[in-house]
């Protein structure tokens, strides 16, 4: 038998149901893998060996007693370190929260309560970044090339699923933070429609854009994890009050007659040849399956990036104001008065990128500048929504690159924030419009780095994306190449 950690969640769930294997065995095998490769990958901030083994045994006992369990009960899952886990350190990869232990669970943490959380994953500090280089603690490596970044901000979650250090994982996506690292690390990453997954307990970066979503090895696992985490939550006023949906009903490769648009603004300058070709070959594949594919236009796209950075930074400047050294987390030493506590704590506790965005956000909200920046950005937001609205009158789905290029080398873009921001060009518009999107691993570039293609759906039509992703998975000639790590493969 191959190692259990190489399997998908649905394969393991079958084995668990058939009592061929126990959750404790799965977890033990999972930790063996972590021992082997975590030194190279560094995807975790916290590994929860003892807690996880105890939990696995508890689920095994419940299963043996015939208790009702969720379909993914007993499966190991990794959770991004900005999702609150009761009594488990939740740091947001920031010095500011290096010691923060939440006394409550995020709603999603409750929803996965019979899965086994094996660790909290690394990320860009407060989810600000596209390479996970902004973590206070460590640099997570891309499992396909340890000299390259895993993408970000959910780089840890993407890398641990890619490296078989977790079966599935949760991340958060504010401007591409699930889809882009999924693309870089060759896994499936899904950002649900805004409001489908409760944000309660997700440490806020930009409230109107943040959304939690799954990282998985295949589309079926993605559907199963979506089933587990979606649903209305009275604790989140922005949560959509819609009936629960079974996403596995969309695991059906029949996409005949589906109308797919490829927005030309996503295929132009700045998009690498290899990425563009991957999207075009995905388009061909869809056509061969009976879909209608044509080029379309989202003319407001060039304004999306600027609007995104203004709105997200404005909200962040306010959301991150509570980290003041008074009640929890880091407090600077040797402060002479209150102002000094604020000044030193926030100067020392936040990293460079976080401070840059707080300053940018504070500026765009300032009296005298509000209309020119924040208000204008909100107007652009409306236009971008209308753009998508028009496109979706004609198309069921849009197909685009997830990122302009494949994973870059450490340090390559960290010196130039604007260049780093530009890497988000293909992902931010969905957050601005609240739409669902998936990155699906579709090819490798000439250097053996994964290329993801992005599927964009109408709001609340997350299921259409699952169906189209599943169709790609079933019909693609590309058989996923696993990263070479630790000599185990």
């Amino acid at each position: 038998m191959s190692n259990l950690y190489e399997l998908t969640a649905h394969e393991l769930a079958d084995k668990l149901a058939k009592k061929e294997v126990s959750s404790a065995e799965i977890c033990e095998n999972q930790f063996k893998r972590i021992d082997e490769v975590e030194g190279d990958v560094e995807g975790y901030i916290t590994v929860l060996h003892d807690e996880a083994m105890a939990k696995a045994k508890e689920i095994d006992t419940k299963r043996a007693a015939g208790e009702r369990l969720s379909p993914l009960a007993g499966i190991p899952i990794a959770v991004k370190d900005n999702i609150c886990t009761k009594d488990i350190k939740t740091t947001c990869a920031s010095h500011m929260l290096y010691n923060f232990v939440p006394p409550y669970n995020a709603t999603v943490s409750e929803k996965i309560s019979d899965l086994v959380i094996i660790g909290k994953t690394n990320m860009d500090e407060f989810a600000m970044g596209s390479s996970t280089e902004n973590s206070y603690f460590k640099k997570t490596k891309n499992p396909y090339n340890l000299g390259c970044v895993p993408g970000g901000s959910s780089g840890g979650s993407a890398a641990v699923v890619s490296a078989d250090e977790a079966i599935i994982a949760l991340g958060s996506d504010t401007g591409g933070s699930i889809r882009q690292p999924a693309s870089f690390c060759g896994v499936v990453g899904f950002k649900p429609t805004y409001g489908r997954v409760s944000r309660f307990g997700l440490v806020a970066f930009a409230s109107s854009l943040d959304q939690i979503g799954p990282f998985t090895k295949d589309v079926e696992d993605c559907a199963l994890l979506l089933n587990q985490i979606t649903g209305h939550d009275v604790k989140d006023s922005t949560s959509l009050n819609v009936p629960d949906e079974d996403f596995t009903q969309y695991l059906n490769a029949d996409i005949k007659g589906m109308k797919i648009g490829i927005p030309k603004e996503y295929m132009g300058e700045g998009i690498s040849e290899e990425v563009r070709n991957a999207v075009l070959s995905a388009a061909k594949l869809y056509e061969s399956m009976g879909a209608e594919v044509e080029q379309c236009s989202l003319p407001m796209t060039p304004y999306a990036l600027a609007a995104y950075y203004m709105i997200s930074s404005a909200e962040a400047s306010s959301n991150l104001a509570r980290y003041d050294g008074i009640r929890f987390g880091f407090r600077a030493k040797d402060c002479k008065d209150l102002e000094d506590v604020y000044f030193k704590t926030r100067s020392e506790g936040f990293g460079k990128e976080v401070k840059r965005r707080i300053m940018l956000g504070t500026f765009v909200l300032s009296s005298g500048y509000y209309d020119a920046y924040y208000k204008k950005a909100q107007q652009v937001r409306t236009l971008i929504r209308e753009d998508f609205g028009k496109a979706f009158e004609k198309y069921d789905l849009l197909l685009a690159p997830t990122a302009p290029d494949t994973a870059w080398k450490f340090g390559e873009k960290s010196a130039d924030p604007v260049q780093m921001y530009a890497a988000d060009i293909c992902t931010v518009s969905l957050n601005i419009a609240g739409l669902p999107g998936m990155s699906f691993p579709f090819a490798l570039d000439k250097n053996g780095l994964p290329i993801g293609v992005q599927l964009i759906g109408k709001a609340m039509h997350d299921g259409d994306i699952i169906r189209a992703g599943y169709a790609l998975e079933k019909n693609s000639a590309y058989t996923k190449t696993k990263p070479q790590l630790g000599g185990a493969n």
């Binding site: 939740t90 404005a314 509570r322 209150l338 604020y342 909200l365 924040y374």
Partner: protein, 477 residues
């Protein structure tokens, strides 16, 4: 030069909802420090606010009682500033789309009724409380008050004297208490006001530069602060100076205000729409439903008291302006007591008891039925008015009906002539000097003897019967 004063007020009132505005913590005053709070109201990472619908209902109720338009579409905004008592470093408030706008509150002035305009009423959350150590260089924060719901009532600059401003404050308090949205306990900080005051040469159209006083927490302090500020600004202008736009702090003990911050130091609150909350949508149906629950307002009470009940303007004003007293009064007359007797008791002895006991009308432990019974006991001659005044304090102490108190303490009036005659004879026998005085025409001797008899009967002898007997017996001696 002659000046006229322009005053606008912002009143913050804590709402008397069961729970806080954005979480399910109890909304109660006091309690051990930091025990009435949760991750939401202390703003821990990741938590989200959920608006308490009752807060919107109470704001609408206040707005209707103060003649406001109710917005169909309203939203909440973040007001950003750093202070340790503000755990999220922003207060959720309302910026440009408040729930209520364009209202007015009538006040009585020497020139008759004047309507003071209201710009708006909006909802927001209260902050915690800082406690500075008396010794040592630290401060502590109590977040129990954090997230308590507030409404902010913003007036137009329609008041032209501290007296008018005080009348406005009192009217607003009476209305809020009457409709039951706030208990308006100033000593618990549930009502506070900011004062904006400017003066201008009489006849000038443009406003003068205004100063602001923040968080004044008693009406008398507000009144004194306004009088002081009026004088201060006049003195500055008369000396050829210029009024600066500034925020001042009133020291009620010293009776002076000092500068807190100048215009240059004014904060930029960087208001923006609260992304964690959805817009507040208010339907006409809901507004009408709430309108139906509005009780009789102070102004309407006043009209009824002076009209059909025939009370004086003064008595009617005192009663209608104090919901607790008005409720006691209404319930007393509903239970059969006369309006005048009820008003006299409430504004006389009962108010005196409240003062002595340092209590609010809301805290009166007995109801109108008990007061009506007390008044009826006098009417029926069961007790005298003097005895009734002794029963009243017991009613404050013990939760018993007046008839029970009278019974238990043996206070029933002695009306039996035989029994009274016996006491009269005893007192006459014991006071021969007074009897001689009476005989030589000293009429006050009669009063002295009456007093002695009442004393001997422990106040229970029927005074009319005592008088009658004395007048009969004395001349025969």
């Amino acid at each position: 030069m002659k000046y006229e004063t322009v005053i606008g007020l912002e009143i913050h009132a804590e709402l008397a909802t069961n729970t806080k505005i954005y979480c399910s913590c109890a909304n109660e005053f006091g309690g051990e420090e930091n025990t009435r709070c949760c991750p939401v109201c202390i703003g821990l990472p990741g938590v989200l606010p959920v608006l308490n619908k009752k807060v919107v209902e109470y704001c609408i109720k206040a707005g209707l009682a103060m003649n406001c338009e109710i917005s169909h579409f309203s939203k909440q905004d973040r007001k950003n500033y750093f202070y340790p008592d503000l755990p999220k470093a922003y207060q959720i408030s309302q910026f440009d789309l408040p729930i209520c706008k364009n209202g007015y509150v009538p006040i009585e002035t020497k020139n008759g009724t004047k309507n003071i305009g209201l710009t708006r009423i909006h909802i927001e959350e209260d902050a915690g409380k800082l406690m500075h150590a008396e010794f040592g260089d630290y401060s502590r924060v109590d977040y129990n008050r954090g997230g308590v719901p507030l409404i902010e009532i913003v007036s137009e600059p329609d008041m032209s004297s501290p007296e008018e401003a005080l009348a406005f404050l009192e009217s607003v308090r009476a209305i809020l208490k009457c409709v039951g949205v706030s208990d308006c306990k100033m000593q618990e900080g549930s009502l506070r006001c900011d004062i904006n005051l400017s003066i201008r040469p009489e006849g000038q159209k443009e406003f003068g530069i205004r100063s602001e006083h923040k968080n004044v927490n008693s009406f008398s302090a507000a009144y004194r602060a306004m009088q002081y500020e009026e004088k201060r600004q006049k003195a500055v202008l008369d000396a050829g100076g210029v009024i600066e736009q500034e925020t001042r702090r009133w020291d009620d003990v010293k009776g002076v205000s000092t500068i807190m911050r100048t215009k240059e130091e004014a904060q930029d609150y960087r208001y923006f729409p609260e992304p964690d909350l959805m817009p507040v949508i208010i339907s006409d149906e809901w507004v009408e439903e709430i309108r139906k629950t509005l009780p009789e307002l102070p102004k309407e009470k006043f009209a009824r008291y002076t009209g059909e009940l025939g009370l004086s303007d003064y008595d009617a004003g005192l009663l209608s302006g104090n919901t607790g007293l008005a409720n006691l009064f209404d319930s007393s007359i509903e239970n059969g007591a006369g309006a005048k007797e009820s008003a006299n008791w409430i504004l006389g002895d009962i108010s005196k008891e409240l003062n002595e006991r340092n209590m609010e009308a809301d805290d009166i432990p007995f109801d109108g039925a008990a007061l009506a019974e007390l008044i009826a006991l006098i009417g029926k001659g069961t007790i005298s008015g003097t005895i009734a005044k002794k029963v009243l304090p017991v009613m404050f102490e013990e939760n018993k009906k007046p008839s029970v108190i009278v019974e238990e303490k043996g206070l029933v009036q002695i009306t039996d002539e035989g029994a009274i005659k016996k006491i009269v004879e005893e007192v006459i026998a014991a006071n021969p000097q007074a009897v001689s005085d009476f005989k030589v025409g000293k009429k006050q001797a009669m009063g002295f003897l009456t007093g002695q008899i009442m004393r001997a009967s422990k106040g229970k002898a029927n005074p009319a019967a005592v008088n009658k007997l004395l007048s009969e017996i004395l001349p025969t001696l």
